[in-house]
């Protein structure tokens, strides 16, 4: 058994962690697992970043407050929070 880091990328509508989540990607610390678009998914696991925090996730990266503003040539959807959970995994 070893403590490993689970990673959850949640993009929110604003820098407010209570604003609605726009997208989500979960990365498990297990070799061979993948994280990809799931065509059967009809909702995200968490409505907001705050919901994820209430479920035990810890924010390790807060979004840059520079978003897509007038004049930007490249647009990025949402403001991305990165969260972690440290859990025991079998090696």
């Amino acid at each position: 058994m070893a403590v490993k880091q689970r990673l959850l990328y949640l993009s929110a509508q604003s820098t407010d962690p209570r604003s609605p989540a726009i997208s989500q990607a979960l990365h498990e610390p297990v070799r061979g697992t993948i994280s990809e678009i799931d065509p059967k998914r009809t909702s995200l696991d968490y409505e907001t970043v705050h919901d994820a925090i209430c479920d035990g996730w810890r924010v390790v990266h807060f979004p840059d407050q520079r978003g897509s503003l007038a004049g930007s040539e490249i647009d990025v959807f949402g403001y991305q929070f990165v969260l972690e959970k440290l859990e025991q995994f079998d090696d």
Binding site: Q13, P39, L44, F77
Partner: protein, 281 residues
């Protein structure tokens, strides 16, 4: 009844359908063919020993019939003008069982004389991707996923690589013979095929040949106020508020570029009058 260009008026899109395309970036057509038409196309695809690339239409001439069906040509004429052209590029995507999902991306022909490899046009419909599925596509057969409204924004695939699943993503779970018309710049991805069946998708590219001088669809100027409101209010996928003004501007400009001299004209109106907010329950 046919238009002056020979396209049946009954197959042209309505104002609301064109607005749907401007807002969401896609339109689905289900052209009617004999019951076994698409299964025959599928069987012929199965016999191809190599990828014919642009010459998929020569390898299987039946496929051209799909793109020449009045329901398809009517939609294309509505979005690109009746003198639209078929581009040289075509491609058959063969999605085997076990294929993993693609990452979200905008297509590009990787043209070396353009600094972004393609030339994004976020406020017009200059070209469309037209995807034909010769078999029913179930959710486990690698359906095409897309983000409604994303055609209005320029993406960098590597910056979007950590998004994963979007709350408002759409997947094209469609019956055999469906034709999905996409704005060229929409963010999309083929998804994982976890079934035991190959999923084919044939893609053609169509382009605008001339600028519009008038709407090329079934337009009624009586709908202008309704369309203006839809372009301003309708949600596609949830985005940050700082992008909403850009989104609405590009929607309106796109509509006006399509409508030529029948474009929408902005007039101030009071959007805030009405009932007082109610106390929180």
């Amino acid at each position: 009844m046919t238009s002056s260009t020979g396209i049946s008026v009954g197959n042209l899109l309505t104002d609301d359908q064109v607005a749907d395309f401007v807002i969401n970036g896609y339109h689905i057509v289900e052209p009617q063919f004999p019951a076994d038409f698409h299964s025959k196309v599928y069987s012929e695809l199965e016999l191809l020993l190599m990828n014919p690339g642009d010459e998929i239409n020569k390898a299987i001439p039946k496929i051209d019939q799909v793109y020449e069906h009045p329901a398809v040509t009517g939609a294309l004429a509505s979005l690109l003008g009746s003198d639209y052209t078929r581009a040289a590029h075509r491609h058959c995507h063969k999605n085997h069982p076990g294929t993993r999902s693609q990452a979200w991306h905008q297509d590009s022909l990787n043209i070396p004389t353009l600094d972004d490899g393609h030339g994004r046009i976020s406020d017009h419909v200059q070209s469309v991707l037209v995807m034909y599925y010769p078999q029913h596509v179930a959710s486990n057969m690698g359906p095409t996923a897309l983000i409604p409204g994303s055609h209005l924004f320029t993406a960098a695939g590597d910056r979007n690589a950590s998004h994963g699943n979007f709350r408002d993503q759409i997947v094209a779970v469609v019956p055999a013979g469906s034709v999905l018309i996409l704005h060229y710049d929409i963010w999309h991805a083929g998804t994982a095929n976890t079934s035991d069946q190959i999923r084919y998708m044939v893609k053609y590219l169509f382009e605008r040949a001339s600028e519009s001088t008038e709407p090329s669809w079934n337009h009624d100027s009586e709908n202008d106020a309704h369309i203006f409101e839809r372009l301003e209010r309708d949600e596609a996928a949830l985005i940050q508020r700082s992008l909403v003004s850009k989104r609405n501007y590009r929607r309106t400009t796109m509509w006006n570029n399509l409508a030529g001299n029948a474009g929408l004209k902005y007039e101030y109106r009071d959007k805030w009058s009405g009932e007082w907010p109610q106390p929180n329950g």
